[in-house]
Symmetry: C2
Subunit: 140 residues, 2 copies
């Protein structure tokens, strides 16, 4: 009963990120990080918080998500115009995107090799390499 214990961690996690551990942020952090890797939209998370009897406004959900992204605890994944996903897995990895259902699935970073990448333009550096494999029903 130790290791990456979730409950106590939400507090530390927020403190380490320099965020005051408020009721709302604690609840959101737990919803996000207590169940392993997740891909949630702001609205989903908001719904879960409400369902868990934690009244949080949508604005706060967005604020918190962006703060966690800023702290490197969350990653924003863009696969769909007009909707952002937030990924609790911040390790090096990529995604399958199921176009029909809008679901995301992780692909471990070591399961894909991206090689032979050209150098970025002068004065710029690579921030991230995103591989999105769009999949759909077989035989379209």
């Amino acid at each position: 009963m130790s290791g990456s214990r979730p409950f106590a961690n939400a507090l530390e996690l927020l403190r380490d990120a320099g965020l005051r551990p408020t009721r709302q942020r604690l609840a959101l952090a737990r919803l996000l990080f207590d169940r392993g890797d997740r891909h949630v939209t702001a609205e989903q998370l908001h719904g879960e918080a409400i369902a868990a009897a934690v009244p949080v406004s949508l604005a706060t959900v967005y604020n918190t998500l962006h703060q966690l992204v800023g702290a490197g605890l969350l990653r924003e994944v863009v696969v769909n115009p007009g909707r952002s996903y937030f990924d609790t897995n911040v390790s090096d990895h990529h995604h399958f995107f199921l176009e029909e259902s809008g679901r995301l699935l992780d692909i471990p970073g070591d399961r894909i090799d991206v090689s032979n990448v050209p150098a970025p333009p002068a004065g710029t550096a690579i921030r991230r390499v995103d591989v999105v494999i769009r999949i759909g029903r077989e035989a379209d």
Copy 2:
């Protein structure tokens, strides 16, 4: 003076796609395909059409862009939440995305190797593999 001549092609291009060559569609097709590979947003294209004294509504720009995507003549690129880019290069290739300016740069398909890709879930097939290399000012 032959080959992929632009002007005459706009007509053919639309007919081959099963789209009536209307004034608006012809103008948009020329703006899109007469200058080599481009990455445009709907609003950009709309602005160009207006500037070229071709009165087109934004709704028509969207309609036309989607029809061209459906015909395989254009490709939608999603890198930014809340804004779509349309890419006139439909060959196999990938992108640099300059986060500061919002610009896209093509990377030829043969300049990147994506290998060792896991099989997609049963009953699904890969539709496309998108690699987006996000770049920013050096030394962040």
